[in-house]
């Protein structure tokens, strides 16, 4: 089985700082996303799953519509697999309702006038993120117990929580530990690739996207500073070697 933990905004420096041994696995490093003008979530995951730089195409849709993009199966690397499970990946099949609400709350937060209101909104925003994470985690672990040749789980908790709480080190530490524990639970179940689209850097208590991503594997690999579009071929190669 090939397992992919797609963790949005997983930051290399934080993985080091919090010493997440299971996220680092056997080999790990940064990804090169310098070919993109901005580290945008939709652009990066689209490029990942299609193996092509999709920035222009995605941006043409505009900020609002771009979140509704869904690529056809044949365009993605998932078409190479007999029984792939892809959970919640933006640009493929993610839960629009949940993520739209999250962005709405984000906007409401910045529009809010006083601290009390901000606190309430932040609370709701955070709670939603944790709830959704629990659900994805459950589905992900269940899928791994079944017989599939590819399971991809998309984890947005680090990104969502990070945007409003990156400066809250306790919270971030606990989230990274949680992700580390998930990695520990699954790293014996198959070939595991952990990948993020971009990282995160602080603006005071808030989080901005950093200009590189994170990758790691539980097997030996010659990957060195890979581009996110390189993973298309990499994963297909990996599948071929398994057969």
């Amino acid at each position: 089985m090939i397992i992919i933990m797609a963790v949005d905004a997983l930051e290399y420096e934080k993985v080091e700082e919090f010493n997440c041994r299971n996220l680092k696995q056997k080999c790990y490093g940064k990804t090169d996303i310098s070919e993109f003008s901005q580290p945008r979530t939709m652009v990066l995951w689209s490029s990942f799953m299609t193996g092509k730089n999709k920035e222009e195409e995605v941006l043409r849709k505009g900020d609002k519509e771009m979140w509704n993009i869904t690529w056809g199966l044949e365009e993605t690397l998932f078409s190479e697999f007999k029984s792939p499970v892809v959970l919640d990946l933006p640009g493929f099949n993610y839960d629009k309702k949940v993520h739209d609400k999250s962005r709405e709350l984000l906007k409401k937060f910045f529009d809010a006038k006083d601290d009390e209101e901000k606190r309430k909104i932040r609370r709701e925003y955070n709670n939603d993120a944790f709830e959704h994470h629990k659900k994805v985690k459950q589905d992900f672990l269940r899928a791994i117990k079944e017989k599939h040749d590819l399971v991809l789980g998309y984890f947005s908790i680090a990104d969502v929580i990070g945007h409003l709480n990156f400066g809250n080190t306790t919270m971030m530490r606990m989230i990274y530990k949680e992700l580390d524990e998930i990695a520990a639970e699954i790293n014996s179940k198959g070939k595991l690739i952990i990948l993020s689209d971009h990282g995160m850097k602080p603006i005071g208590v808030f989080g901005d996207h950093s200009s590189y991503g994170f990758w790691s594997t539980n097997f030996e690999t010659k990957l060195r500073n890979p581009r996110i579009t390189d993973f298309y071929d990499f994963i297909i190669e990996l599948k071929r070697k398994q057969e």
Binding site: F130, K134, T169, R173
Partner: protein
């Protein structure tokens, strides 16, 4: 409020951060909202509350984490304020641990009762004894995992006490605890009804703040000489008491004079100054005196020598190789020196002998050495007067700390 500097040492996985979190929680010393915040996140992630997260800014250890540096923080009981110097457990950062521990007045050595005495436990205990820390309590943690049974506690306690005895450490208490559940940190719980000793907080309150060594012979290292309207010799008195009218000696030259006055800003008629005080004196005669000299009374003199036997622990990544010259700093004295003989090199965790008659000392090794200074220095045996019995060796930064074991008189 009185303050006691406390260091907590032991193996990285034995529960230090949970213990610290507990100490803060149980003494109600946490910043407002801290515990609720953590409880909420733990709940949101479907986990039990973990105290280890409480001391976030300490960059402290978790089950799989590494503390990177010593950091200091405070909690209070009714008796006094405790500064916790949390020293990192990971072997990588030994120099940081030693920096922290060297400032402590008392120590808690933590041992996981399930795992027993580990390499790191031994290494840290050894460093405590090297640093002359003699106020130690041991806590035997994770009693909850063995159902609070007495037998295992007794077994590990026996093994540990045997080791501690061999390095001259006498813990005042060996307390069974569960930092996670809160047994015997602040509360005596029924789980450990067979133990009739104090809780950790009670034991801490029995420690004494380091009494300045007022009753020891006078040792006043000269830090500087100021020439304002009077000529003042300034520095911090490291032991003893100096009084106006005292006959004093300036070492190593041996010149003698009398204390004419003690100078303190905005105070008149100061008659004495005691150990720990930064002060200044004016002498009757115009003697030759400079930074690095040591002022004493006429009897009970320290040793003036250029040959010193010392235990040193090397903390630099770049090893020492003969015949490198280093800077020897003891109190305010600074002279170049060379390590003439490296008689034994010991592994700081196992205390095993690694090499004899060696040519080099590597990171984290302890060595018995003979040091020769290029000029005579004024020193003491570490067990007699600590402040003149300990020194550092520097290249650009401190590479090693040392304690003087046996002085060869010139």
């Amino acid at each position: 409020m009185e303050n006691l500097k406390l260091v907590i040492v032991g193996h990285v996985d034995h529960g230090k951060s949970t213990l610290i979190g507990r100490l803060f929680y149980d003494t109600d010393s946490l910043p407002e909202g801290r515990i609720e915040e953590i409880r909420e996140i733990c709940e949101a992630l479907g986990k039990e509350l973990e105290f280890a997260y409480v001391m976030d800014h300490l960059e402290e250890e978790r089950d799989q984490g590494i503390t990177i540096d010593t950091a200091q923080t405070f909690f209070r009981t009714k008796k006094r304020q405790y500064t916790i110097i949390d020293a990192p457990g990971h072997v990588e950062f030994l120099k940081n641990m030693i920096t922290g521990a060297s400032q402590a007045e008392a120590a808690i050595l933590i041992v996981d009762v399930n795992e027993g005495v580990q390499e790191q436990t031994r290494r840290h205990a050894y460093i405590l004894s090297l640093l002359g820390l003699d106020q130690v309590i041991v806590v035997m943690n994770k009693m909850d995992l063995i159902n609070y049974k007495e037998e295992m506690y007794d077994e590990v306690k026996k093994e540990l006490l045997k080791f501690l005895e061999s390095i001259n450490i006498n813990p005042t208490y060996v307390i069974p605890i569960s930092a996670k559940e809160g047994d015997f940190i602040a509360k005596k719980t029924r789980n450990l009804s067979w133990y009739d000793g104090p809780t950790v907080l009670e034991a801490l309150d029995t420690f004494k703040t380091k009494n300045s060594p007022r009753d020891k012979p006078l040792r006043f290292p000269v830090q500087d000489v100021y020439k304002y309207d009077k000529r003042m010799i300034v520095g911090r008195i490291e032991s003893g008491i100096i009084r106006v009218g005292d006959k004093i000696k300036i070492l190593p030259s041996g010149e003698e004079t009398i204390v004419k006055s003690i100078a303190e800003y905005m105070k008149e008629n100061v008659m004495q100054a005691e150990a720990g005080k930064s002060t200044g004196i004016v002498t009757q005669d115009k003697v030759f005196v400079d930074r690095g000299d040591v002022i004493t009374h006429l009897e009970d003199l320290p040793v003036i020598t250029d040959t010193i036997n010392a235990h040193i622990f090397w903390m630099d990544k770049q090893p020492f190789k003969k015949p490198e010259r280093l800077l020897f700093k003891c109190a305010t004295q600074e002279v170049m020196c060379s390590i003439e003989k490296i008689e034994r090199v010991i592994d700081s965790s196992t205390l095993r002998l690694l090499r004899r008659d060696a040519d080099e000392i590597r990171n984290r090794e302890v060595a018995d050495t003979v040091i020769k200074t290029e000029k005579p220095v004024v020193v003491e045996d570490f067990n007699k007067i600590q402040e003149l019995g300990r020194f550092v060796l520097q290249r650009k930064d401190t590479c090693a700390g040392g304690i003087i074991t046996n002085i060869q008189k010139e």
